[in-house]
Amino acid sequence: MNKYEPVIGLEVHAQLLTETKAFCGCSNKFGDQPNTNVCPICLGHPGSLPKINKKMVEFAVMMGLATNCKINFKSSFARKNYFYPDLPKGWQTSQFDEPICSNGFLEITADNNLRTIRINRIHMEEDAGKLIHDETGFSLVDLNRCGTPLIEIVSEPDLQSPHEAFQYLSKLKQILLYLNISDCNMEEGSLRCDANVSVRLTGDKSLGVKTELKNMNSFKNVEKAIQKEIERQIDIIEEGGKIIQQTLLWDADKEEIKIMRTKEEAHDYRYFPEPDLLPVIIDDVWKNELMSKMPELPDVRRKKFSNLYKLPEYDCEILTSTKELADYFESAAKHSDDFKSISNWVMVEVLKFINENNLSVNQFRLSPINLGKLINLINDKTISNKIAKDIFAELIERNIDPLIIIKEKGLTQINDSKFIEEIIDRVIKSNQEQVKQYLAGKDKVLGFFVGQIMKESKGKANPQSVNELLINKLSLMKN
């Protein structure tokens, strides 16, 4: 057992996929010309009045429901005051003592353990603008992002390793994508993660002093940065030092931790209720309506794939990794009942094509119907598995009934054993040297024969029949 154990909690910010900002009607689109999606409200002009985007509230509730949270009947907004040029009002509109969701949990699997990670709260808030630092000694401000709706998901310090943090974050992302409420692009900043990290002697009940790690812009970096921070804290304690409460920045290029500020300089946010926004009340009617709009979530879907399609756990995990892939599988499963074959084709050939061409599942051209038909053609022995793979690229390209391609190319599988036997005889006759080797006990030459026979038949001979007939013929020669 390790002498020390880490205690980790994550604060995750997700930008919501609404059309407009949190409190004004400006477009929420990423990447537009600087300062073109702005108005008096998000610019913080005096006298302007914010108004709550209903969709933001609905998305926050959906995330709460998906993470087993209590949806609070009443929630309200508050002003979090701080002075920084990316926030022209001088405060961030956020939630404080009355968040929209609280007391949830997520189940994750890490190192074969099923772990329950409690979620303290989910609240709504607005994003700040973007600062660009130029060489002239000035900073440039783009306020397009200012006012973008966010949810912040705050976990309890239940994570026990960097790997668990990674798994928890992956699970959150998976759910956000299933719900289609955030695009979760960490590089573009639509998903951001801060980590609270402390260490203590293994088995200790009390918590050590924690530090806050920021600026980890990829999943891999989250895992790496937390690992580094745990090692840094253990080193300090081992050398007799004390951990001080600090905010730290991860430098991904140098893979280093830098100190951003210590507690004495910590912000004093002076939260108070936002008088310009009335409270939000979510009754059961609204809550149930939102629940009925939600898709099946990954855990439910995984269990369904195991029970209904009788697929191995590994297949279920991969196929339900995204909603799009799970939908694709289920559509194909309507057209062929060989679920395991569909699973294999989707996990190997389809995913290979998608990854090699950098596509999303939705951009994959071959319809699930035509994939189902292809599998049926293999199963009824019209074509071999090999032929199916050979024509797969063309099938994707044309997205037509695979039978058309097979007929065009004359690729129908030959199951006629008389015809196959003729080829076998020919191949045996012209490869006497290999026959001798086989008879002398060198079983490996069998593969050579199969290869030659398949080549002779232009890949059309039923490989199983070839195998059986070939072994029969050769074993007769042994005697």
Partner: protein, 94 residues
Amino acid sequence: MPVNREIVKHIAKLSKLSLTDFEEEKFTLELNKILEYMEKLNSIKTDNIETMSYPVDGFNVFREDEIVNSIDREAALKNAPQRTDEFFKVPKIL
């Protein structure tokens, strides 16, 4: 005296104000006077009265998620003390 000089310094720092010694002293006294005056409110009995955070009653005032025209960039940047063609310009922030 609920407000001492340290608190005044802290508030000044949060407000990005630099105060002279004289001003610190002056504002400590003035802030205390204001707070003492507000203390009078505490003499009113407020048991069984719910906290009021809003001047008006009501809840769930929403807008639909529909784009409303933003203002032009020129109008947005017009009042900025410093700007470029596209951006607000502020002293370097680290």
